[in-house]
Symmetry: C2
Subunit: 281 residues, 2 copies
């Protein structure tokens, strides 16, 4: 089963555009877990188990594990997701970007060591930096296109041809040259809906990973209106902190579930409003 | 002691522009080491000890360790370099690029966990993706500018303003906005000397990390002519495979030393030819 078919099934089964980002900041892990041998794993596992029926994907952010030397807990977490919640794709948020044999090593890190179904990549080094990942044809390759942070505009919004900005060129290349096996997707932030809509126009039905709702403040209705496909799907709308840290006591998993449920429902309602019909109707 | 002052001292002490890249491909580690408990560490340590007096820096590539789940061997290697060869800066080649609290985690990975003196970063996400690293004012921040791979031109060579290409904009931003504490450097490949010369014109005396000689085929004379500062220094010219795999038997460390010596001497001679004087004169 490929990443894209797995994702399509997950969208349908869960009727959800929500992707829960797993960014476990050690300082914010509830006190009750901190004395455990594997607190990062335990925290993330509880979030995963409390939200699995509400999501189309999980997105662990490797930096939080790497800073703590806790790669083994990341391995255990992804193993847990695959074993306990089969069919939910795991996107490893790593934003790697390198060339040749180094890129081969990073592909191995993501796909073989961590068994991720997809990985995020940075396109600055161009086509041959992506090829080692594209050879894993059953996995997803999700390229940074337009990011939602203030500095995102420094390079991404530069005009590289009349009427074409750098992020639009990335979107076009992602369609025309960087997707030979149908496994490519893009990261487009939620903070500027017009740009999200523009990427959707360029890439047709390609899946989009959309961070920036929740803690980063993107508007759900405008995001869904701009980024959805005609079938009401096509987006992994990612929320991390607003869900992970919805509660900070022993009931953190219940609080996370409630926050995920609210976000899923808000996304569902936004799809319905934007189309006049339910995505299932 | 800051990264830049450490590097300046190393240039002077070793009279060398050579940076040895530590890219330990498990398939190419000599058979005699493979049965050891920590073969990647043992291999790299032997290379480091055989070449330390010939280099201005070491550059371990984290992907090779990560793919094998061998981060502990990378930690041990950098600890060894600092303990046994103090004063030689360690550049962690990681090409990270992310925002906000995630970038803080990556900075911690590079500077706290691995104790790197500098780290390579990808500028695609712009200023706020760099700030968490710049706050470690004693460490170096080395930004991808123009890479030497074929796909490097896909985005980096696009014209973003009349007469200004994307990599030139990165060089200009690195000078004007992304170097508040004097710790910033750039990665510029050796394969197109005109572009290296153009970056040198833009950035003045900023240090440049220059991969692409050796296995990637850049010409040493043209590279040095294009990238050197007036004082004959200013470059870390990186070579990995041509040194690491100069031999494949039990004498691999001797072969690596000879290859490093030849490269150092070729760089010295190129500096001399390009300036008409010895860099020490």
């Amino acid at each position: 089963m490929t990443f894209v078919s797995m994702l399509s099934s997950a969208w349908q089964r869960a009727d959800s555009l929500l992707c829960v980002g797993l960014d476990p900041d050690p300082k914010r892990i509830p006190a009750g877990l901190r004395a455990r041998p594997d607190p990062i794993f335990e925290f993330c596992r509880a979030i995963v188990d409390a939200t699995a029926d509400l999501v189309c994907a999980f997105k662990p952010q490797i930096a939080y594990f790497a800073a703590q030397g806790a790669e083994d807990q990341l391995e255990a977490l992804i193993t847990h997701i695959h074993a306990r919640h089969p069919g939910i794709p795991v996107v490893l948020d790593a934003k790697r970007g390198d060339i040749g044999s180094t890129a081969e090593q990073y592909a191995r890190e993501a796909f073989e060591r961590f068994q991720a179904d997809a990985v995020t990549l940075n396109p600055y080094l161009g086509q041959d930096s992506l090829e080692p990942y594209l050879q894993w044809t059953d996995r997803g390759v999700i390229l940074l296109c337009r990011t939602s942070n203030p500095g995102g505009a420094d390079l991404q919004s530069l005009e590289v041809a009349p009427g074409e900005r750098l992020y639009e060129r990335v979107a076009r290349l992602a369609c025309e040259r960087w997707n030979p096996h149908g496994q490519t997707a893009l990261v487009v932030g939620a903070t500027v809906p017009q740009e999200l809509a523009q990427v959707r126009r360029i890439v047709g039905d390609m899946p989009l990973l959309v961070p920036g709702i929740g803690a980063q403040g993107g508007d759900i209705d405008a995001t869904v209106q701009a980024g959805r496909r005609a079938d009401g799907r096509g987006m992994m709308v990612s929320s991390s902190r607003a869900i992970l840290y919805a509660g900070d006591g022993d009931d953190f998993a219940d609080a996370a579930r409630q926050a995920a449920l609210d976000t899923r429902d808000a996304l569902r309602a936004a799809v319905r409003r934007s189309s006049g019909t339910s995505p299932r109707g």
